[in-house]
């Protein structure tokens, strides 16, 4: 049960919310922070040192766009000096010549590059950035030239679900070892844009067939990770492998979060690194303890044999759909509110059928809030 707190293995560091792209499904909160709220270099380095002491083995450097931090080389060097595995999660845009090589030199282990579309016009529509795909391809080439392994991350929704085969070709052509076909998770910006993003059931079925066939034919050549679409699922995803179980996220201002979306739960208050040590936050933060283990669960989770498989699913999704962060994730067929998900999906299928690739239907991600 929940009596013993394990040391964390993985940490997602959202170094900044600044980003050149405006993807309408961004996993950052709707209230984005400006640069003046970001922790300084010394605080981040101290945090990573404490994370290593606590047992963190893998650090995902994300954002926003993490390469906008000028101290990224120092951060990477710090992680390398403590033997932690560093993964740079980047949009691959606006990275100065030689920077990728410098990061490799500092000890970077791996790069994950986001791709909004396998076609130029799709990439531009989704990122709201002209020439995005060409820039990303150039970054991928620099990653490979620096001898770094590459993962291509493709967040999937209605406007690019038909490009899955092209994403696979692109990943192969770029020399990637991994490809993530990640159906968008509907929280934050993606929830705001849900009616413009939700794919049709038929498209999902084609997507799954394509991925399964490619996994088989490309075994040992390209690893394809598939993040299934929540709303079409039978059981929910074990979000973060269980709330504050072996991973956490840190917002640009040092707030320690159980997952990157947890700030959508208004009843939680988060502790900030600097005001407390990381070890104290990991053990004592009220937000981290709120849904740790299984004691907090309601029925049907409490008596469910899957409670330590699914961990109740996603708390943010419970908040968004059920209005109660302690409810069973309504995506689960056993949730009393599952009908609500089914009804929403039915409605959205009509929207998908009336498909127009019209950028005006998105609320693009912008600092300063959501607007149409």
């Amino acid at each position: 049960m929940s009596d013993r707190i394990l040391p964390p293995i993985a940490m997602l560091a959202e170094l900044t919310h600044r980003c050149p792209l405006q993807c309408p499904y961004c996993s950052n909160p709707l209230e984005l922070m400006k640069a003046n709220r970001e922790m300084d270099t010394a605080a981040w380095l101290d945090l990573f040192g404490q994370a290593a002491d606590l047992g963190v083995l893998q650090v995902h450097l994300s954002g926003g766009e993490p390469t906008l931090r000028r101290d990224l080389e120092q951060i990477v060097a710090k992680l390398a000096s403590r033997g932690m595995y560093s993964n740079l999660i980047t949009a691959g845009i606006g990275i100065a010549e030689g920077r990728i090589a410098a990061l490799a030199e500092a000890g970077l282990d791996h790069v994950q590059l986001s791709m909004q579309g396998a076609r130029s016009e799709t990439a531009e529509l989704i990122s709201n950035y002209k020439g995005a795909l060409d820039r990303k391809m150039e970054t991928a080439r620099q990653v490979r030239a620096a001898g770094l392994p590459l993962t291509v991350n493709a967040p999937i929704h209605r406007h690019n679900i038909g490009e899955v085969e092209e994403f696979i070709e692109l990943a192969l052509a770029l020399g990637a070892e991994r490809l993530e076909i990640a159906n968008v998770q509907y929280s934050g910006w993606a929830l705001l844009n849900r009616s413009a993003l939700m794919p049709s059931r038929a498209a999902i079925e084609r997507e799954i067939e394509t991925v399964e066939a490619a996994r088989e034919s490309l075994r040992g050549v390209l690893n394809i990770d598939f993040v299934p679409p929540d709303y079409f699922a039978t059981y929910p995803k074990p979000c973060m492998g269980g709330w504050a179980r072996d991973a956490f996220a840190v917002a640009p201002d040092g707030s320690v979060l159980p997952c990157h979306a947890a700030q959508t739960i208004p009843s939680l208050s988060f502790d900030r690194f600097g005001e407390h040590s990381l070890a104290d936050i990991w053990a004592d933060s009220s937000a981290l303890n709120a849904f740790r283990g299984t004691d907090w669960m309601q029925e049907p989770c409490r008596g469910c044999e899957r409670r330590e498989i699914d961990w109740g699913g996603c708390r943010c999704q419970a908040m968004a759909i059920a209005g109660d962060p302690a409810a069973t994730d309504p995506v689960c067929v056993r949730s009393p509110l599952h009908e609500r998900v089914v009804a929403t999906l039915e409605e959205l299928q009509f929207a998908a059928a009336r498909e127009t690739a019209d950028s005006a239907s998105f609320s693009y991600r912008r600092i300063g809030g959501a607007r149409n």
Binding site: G55, L57, E177, S217, N223
Partner: protein, 107 residues
């Protein structure tokens, strides 16, 4: 099936198959390290942390790009005082799985 019209899959690398002559190696970005917090050996890889068992570790430690699979099998047969043919099956299966996961490369 996957329709790769312009660039057939065959144009890219084929699935590597482990034989006794293969010389497996851990790529630079797949790191075997001791974790003092959990007092265990971990393999750190893209988006994954793995905790191999003792035999797995004994195989991985020999994946240096110079030692052949044949030599790894022979060494483990001595170390575990086992039948070489039995150990061969386990070692080949283990290395094929890790190669398929792109965690081990063959030369």
């Amino acid at each position: 099936m996957l329709a790769l019209q312009q660039k057939p899959v065959a144009a890219y690398q084929q699935r590597p198959v482990v034989t006794r002559r293969s010389r497996p190696v851990l790529p630079k970005h797949v790191r075997l390290r001791f974790d003092p917090v959990r007092q265990a050996w971990a393999v750190l890889a893209p988006e994954r942390v793995l905790w191999p068992n003792e035999i797995g570790l004994d195989i991985l430690r020999r994946c240096d790009g110079r030692t052949s699979v044949r030599a790894i099998i022979a060494a483990l047969a001595i170390e575990y005082d086992g039948e070489e043919e039995e150990i061969a099956g386990d070692v080949l299966a283990f290395l094929q799985e890790w190669t398929d996961d792109l965690l081990v490369r063959l030369s």
